[in-house]
Amino acid sequence: MDSLLNQNRPPAFCPGCTHEKIVQMLDRTFQNMNLDGNQIAIISDIGCSGLFDTFFHTHAFHGLHGRALTYATGIKMARPELTVIATMGDGGLGIGGAHLLAACRRNLDITLLILNNFNFGMTGGQFSATTPPDAVVESGFLNKLENPIDICEVARSAGAEYVIRCSGYQTDLDKELEKAIRFPGFSVVDICGICTGRYVQKNRLTPKKIETLVSNHSAKKYNHTISSTPRKEYYSYYKELSKNQTPTENPITISPVFKPLQPIRQEIVILGSAGQRILSAGEILCLAGLTAGLNASQKNEYNITVLTGPSIAELILSPDQIDYTGIDTPSIILALASEGVERRKHLFKNTTQDTIIIHEKNVKIPSCNASAFSVDFKGKGIKPQDWALASLAVLAGMNKVICLTMLQKAIELRFKEPIRSKSIHLIQNMVF
């Protein structure tokens, strides 16, 4: 196979920079693997390592600092047949830490090459996430205050199965890169090297020292010891699980079969508390309205901590287009819990004699002008989670907004058995 190096753009690193060696080794790896440029995507990060994509005749994607793995993920999910290689420096490793952890956990078949030279070369030699505390860098004393990260250990504990530390000088680097690329999952190669332009201006670091650093390191122990029960590769697993997902049902569609009872806009609020199925009752009321060709809107309010506090549904049913969706003067209030009543107590002031309030016997309502109907849901043996639906039956019994046939139709549309029969039974028993 021919070299994939871009003849028009030879590597332009400082003399002696390890990056150049790695470029050559990566090219040799591609040749050894018989890969064509159109089979590879190189996703490069920011910094001197960010130039990598320009030296190769492959697909290339160069983006923001630390985000290389995010683009690589999108590309690999879209084009799983591509060999996807992300390159980043120790700078990208620091700023993109969350993405690196997530990539380790995900195990999508991407190879990450970390070009680790212990400092920010491009911006002038500041300390990075891997700079030793005793190094002399352009960040003054700040690196003394922080511990460098051992990215191999971190990647391992985040779930990466293929993690290896290499020297940019080792003669079999191409073989190591090939193994990492062939690994069917996320692989991390931490390649230690020398930044001649910056780091070694003030610190002693030689290929020999790097070799010792790499060979002494515990990351060695991970080499090729992939667990006997390897994790599934993300994309293939994604496809496997996707196949079992049942296609979503189309939304319920309703053709109007009834005539509206009152040809005017009706504003209804259901005031309850968490667990009373207030929102679901609201939806049923709207669906019932739709069976009579009315337009409907529903707004819900509940605590972010969903299992406590008020639960409120605000509903509008109207033969006309519904524009403003706020409710200031409700025509109907269903009051089923004091939490909800408390949250909307200002609404009671706006009621008139035409307003109908249906409230549970034990739920106190503020004094107001409306006609209030007290219902002893509890006494009738109805559980609090059914009070909202039961109150709709009371409303239907009065032929206000909806009638029982409309309500039953809505229940049939919305619920499957056995809830359907139970609900119908409940509303039929409420008729008085």
Binding site: R9, G37, N38, A41, D53, T54, H57, T58, H59, A60, F61, H62, G63, L64, R67, T70, Y71, A72, T73, G74, I75, K76, M77, A78, R79, L82, A98, H99, L101, A102, Y238, L241, S242, Q245, T246, P247, T248, P251, I252, T253, I254, S255, P256, E283, C286, L290, G293, N295, A296, S297, Q298, K299, E301, I304, I322, D323, Y324, T325, G326, D328
Partner: protein, 373 residues
Amino acid sequence: MTVSFMEGNEAIARAAVIAGCNFFAGYPITPATTIFNTMLKLLPPSGGICLQGEDEIASIGFCLGASMAGMKTMTATSGPGISLYSEQISFAIGSEIPIVIVDVQRLGPSTGSATLGADGDIQFLRWGNSGGLPVIVLSPTDITDCFILTIHAFNLAEKFRCPVFIASNKEIGMTRESIDIRNLPLPEIESRKAAPHTTGFQPFAVQSDTGVPDFLPIGSIIPIRQTSSTHGPDGYITNDPKAIEMNRTRLAGKLKNISTNHFFYETHPEKDATTLLITYGVTARSARQANREEKQSGRPFSLLILKTLWPVPQDLIQKHARGMKRVVVVEMNLGQYVREVERVLPGIPVQFLGQMNGCLITPTQIKEFLSHG
């Protein structure tokens, strides 16, 4: 007639799939989460991809990668997430990556109120990118708009190769409404223009007078380049001021080629009106009601509802404001789009009614403002 009953967010998700969206990534955030929930139900069973990123930056990053690999992508968030998207948005603008970004706005600043509505991001969507190059922002007023504008958003993103925002609002996204999906006037689906052949293909070379480069995806039979760096037509970094200038001028100018039938709006002109009310988003609904009621009371005003906010439909605004004694801008913030209206209407008095307390501006507030103004 057959109607369904769903949230604005669900309508956006369902319309996205109709528009050809086959890749979605997002990070949970109220009030946008139900878009993610719906996409997760819709895409995987039909062969598409729906991912939950480790954060917002990753979510949009996934989309940018997938878009350049040829997929139609969408992401959805709210104010705090849009802020995190910011630099990826700049990338998508400068490197011409089609993507639809839904901002279901909530009351800010910052984390603000997760469950209260606002239209507080309108200038941020336009200017929240480094470099200040233009974007497209569409603004739905109701569930039907959510559906139709989402399809337009994809078409525009594909046609102009740029990010297109849907500036929704908690009050639309999380409000359920009846919608007659089967009878909607849906636009035809458009896709980015593929390069006719691979020989001599340059990823940012422009062949036509649209100002938009032809596209070949990463994964094509020839290597394709994408870069966030300042680049020439070949997709390599360039320092040549001429090449840079040409590229920037083209990026700034290509959205000028949006034809008038790609500006979305609704008008309610009244014959004897001396006031033009301009609004958008959920506030347009109160304005419609006020418009009807004032007409019945013999105090008619004209109403212009903008559904394309950016680029500013300057000619349209000027045309409708012609001969008016005053223009009133109503929006759910403390004065954002009114700046644009003032800018394009020199010499016409522009008044402003705004509110930023999580409550809808009511038809009554509008009517009172008009009568006292």
